[in-house]
Symmetry: C2
Subunit: 217 residues, 2 copies
DNA sequence: GCTGTATTGATAAAATATTATCGATACAAA
DNA sequence: TTTGTATCGATAATATTTTATCAATACAGC
């Protein structure tokens, strides 16, 4: 499947697996491994080897029979797919507990994410620096977003404040929002929203645990 | 589809949507709304109404034509499905930035999650209390897990320490792990692992943003 | 008490995602 | 060089998930 401009559409399940491949591949690279087979990857990650091959095909990497895939090329290809080989400057909205943890998480650089500023409406927080990143008043967001050409924002405010903040972000021309608030936010069609709600993944876990316990009876 | 003991298997995509329904329903309840139609839910969450009805069916709630579903019953049914109407006591391993944020997140109670202790191997942290929860030495985990009958653990240690901690947790009889480390952990067949890796959801977002930017050219 | 209609729930169809099969191929070992 | 084999990549089969269709039904308004 292609978009209008002939860009391959990568299925979402595949996109969600690519980081797992990447983590494994980076580990292998560190250990000096040069090439890896789909069978090996599948075993390590508990997947089907056919699926690994199919996923890899989306990255345009071709392997060699009997040898597998070149680790370096595959790493590069995945990073390119995800645009993780260059930095996307981003704002963080809501410098609370979760926001603070994220601002301090150095490894986001490996995911192409670079926080350039944080925003909050708490006067106590505005003016502070958190892990070297300035906390600014949310009022200044629209102007700064445009000035600094920021397109991506991470939303870590309480659910009640989420929509209000989104509206401010939209004024600044933000087109992609990584939403951690347990709240469906409303945005225009063309704006990309990815909900990173803990509850989604927790729901899967607690259901499985509950079923597991029931089957034990 | 049924498990051996006639428990309905709820598809994972459905499980991931249930919390969204729940958040919306709780809001509606707060506003005094008594019943809600699948069409309404679908519009609010950007889904298909048929899908909402199908998802709702897994909770065993039946609606009324022309009226929709009873908000309260649906809330209860979803919470029951996910086992969120009672507390599951849990350990948190790795009292770092993310771990601290999670220990302080009161709303986990709404998700049936109750942290009873945290564990770390940093002598600076052991003995401290974080948001009222004691940080204990990881060495004590196996004994305490068995004593306190803890089955669920949240893993927020660095990737390099993840497997080592998992092995300790397994000794204590932990059967469900919510893993935040960007690392595939190895566990026996019967142990439930849910990877809550930020990178999964970030991958979807950055890919979409990248494609979006390319189509603009 | 009728009539019109929004909505459900069941079933069917379509789309998507995963898994299986198999010939082709590169490499290692004899 | 030849042979054996692990692995790829293409294609086909299966499974799962999403979306469409429609008769049955509860309610509101007349
Ligand atoms: N802490 C966690 O572990 C955790 C887990 C899952 C989800 N979440 C979600 O992440 C979000 C943040 O959680 P948290 O624990 O960091 O909360 P928090 O209260 O610690 O932080 C929220 C921050 O947002 C700021 N804020 C509030 N209203 C604002 C507004 N209108 N404009 C700008 N800033 C505003 C506050 O000043 C505060 O600094 C919440 O939606 C929460 O539900 C948190
Ligand atoms: N901070 C974030 O925003 C963020 C985002 C995404 C993923 N993560 C992941 O979550 C995990 C935790 O991240 P963090 O930022 O909180 O890191 P952190 O370094 O702040 O905290 C890690 C904690 O684990 C403890 N620890 C280390 N080795 C241990 C061991 N063997 N046994 C017991 N405890 C041990 C450390 O003492 C520390 O308290 C990491 O795997 C990280 O990749 C964090």
């Amino acid at each position: 499947m292609l978009t209008k401009k002939n860009i391959v559409v990568i299925p979402e399940p595949t996109l969600r697996r690519l980081p797992h491949y990447l983590h494994l591949l980076l580990n292998l690279k560190e250990q000096g491994v040069k090439s890896v087979s789909s069978t090996f990857i599948a075993n390590e990650l508990g997947l089907d080897s056919t699926q690994v091959r199919k996923d890899v095909q989306y990255t345009n990497i071709i392997g060699k029979p009997k040898t597998g895939f070149d680790v370096n090329s595959l790493i590069n290809a995945i990073q390119t797919c995800l645009n993780w080989n260059r930095y996307e400057n981003a704002f963080l909205i809501g410098a609370g507990s979760l926001g603070t943890a994220m601002l301090g998480y150095k490894q986001f650089k490996d995911y192409g994410l670079n926080f350039v500023a944080a925003f909050d409406n708490d006067p106590e927080k505005v003016g502070q620096k958190i892990h070297g990143i300035e906390v600014l008043s949310i009022d200044r967001l629209p102007v700064l977003a445009q000035l600094m050409k920021i397109h991506l924002a991470v939303l870590t405010v309480p659910a009640k404040a989420a929509q209000e903040c989104v509206d401010i972000m939209l004024k600044g021309g933000i087109v992609a929002i990584w939403n951690f608030a347990p709240m469906q936010i409303k945005v225009p069609q063309n704006v990309i929203v990815e909900n990173a709600q803990f509850s989604q993944s927790l729901a899967v876990l607690t259901r499985k645990l509950s079923v597991y316990k029931q089957t034990l009876l």
